[in-house]
Amino acid sequence: MRLVLDHVCAHRPPWSLAADGVFSPGIHLVSGDVGSGKSTLALMMAGLFPPESGAVRREEITSTMLSFQFPEFHVTGLSVAEECASWNLSPETAIAHAGIDVSPETPVLALSRGELKHLHLSCVLSRDYDLLLLDEPFSSLDCPGKEQVCRQISGRSGGITAIFTHEQSTFPAIDRLWEISDGRLVDCGEMPKALLQWQHAPSLVRRLVGAGRIPESITPEGLREAACRTRG
């Protein structure tokens, strides 16, 4: 199973994006600045936006899920219960899994944005997909929520997971790093060597790498181990 970006190009002057690379099973992090094309790349990988040239090949991928940056785009039910039912989930299970304190009768668009994101991700992560694309999954989540979602993502049993984000604090166990720079998708490589090339690295990661303490992972545990590492 793999997703191949074969000389993919998208263009909307003055913006453009060129992407070439292979996404194998594992957890991939794609970082980039505002407007660099992370969401467009996610759409192309999901097959929802055709590239102007090149091809996106989803080899042996039979199920795909794209979670949009804005959870309200996914809403199909009027109430929390209806929304959960649209995912074939009982509201009690989804609400408990999301860790939010709301009634199933609550109008789904009356939830705070963070609560809605919790609920949406709870629904998305309740299923397995060969290709799971998460566009800014951590935006609007509170700190405990980010850690919970990271644990769930890290615990995925298989498939290709690609996270498109500019998150700077909380990450799951990443296998491979990518970033969009100057209109081009750059493969930084496998962790932890990829950290040496990561231009969009959070300041703590940057400081650790600069001090020669390269974290094995950028999970909170990995960062703590590197920060507390004793030389000698």
Partner: protein, 223 residues
Amino acid sequence: MIVISGLRYRCLAIDALEIAPGITSVIGPNGSGKSTFLKICSGIAEPESGTLLVDNVSPRQTEVGYVNEFPDRNILFPIVKDELASPLRFRFTPCKETDHAVRDCAGSLGIGHLLDRRMQDLSGGEKVLVAFAAAVITRPRVIVLDECDSHLDAGRCRWLEEALRMSGAVYVIRCTQQMETAALGDHLLYLEKGRVLHAGTPAGVFSRLSDTSFYPISWRWPA
């Protein structure tokens, strides 16, 4: 000074609180009432009982710039330059003055290249930048930002911090889930279940949250 007394509104219950001029960050779990609190601060909602006064007047009697937590709910017009001009046009500012202010504001905030773009074609982060520009183009006395940094990259977050300091606003009240950003403010409020559990300087409030995931990650293990 922003003075709150006996405030009740939906889940919010704040008996007494004073907020000094400067940048105040509001943090707390999802559903704790942060956005509701910001709606009261901006005058979008009014307390069911009690008061919130900004230098002795209600928020509706002062100039407020507000950025919604849902970027698409900020949008009124299809083209960026019209969106940015709207606060000035609504107050019948002369066209030439409006055009000049739009270009000046967009230029100073680094979004001049977006002026002719359609709002619906912008990325989430770009929508936030435009919404922020529209909120500050009238140089309001109070700026209220509802988690707009959750759509911005690290560089834009630093840029936003600088833009807030340069805005001339007396009060900036913003909620954020980026604790490193919250640590940069002058004051910090921690809300839980509609109550302000902790208020003070970032150092003071975070010292009470040191065993929680709200404690800034860069403070945990200085590299």
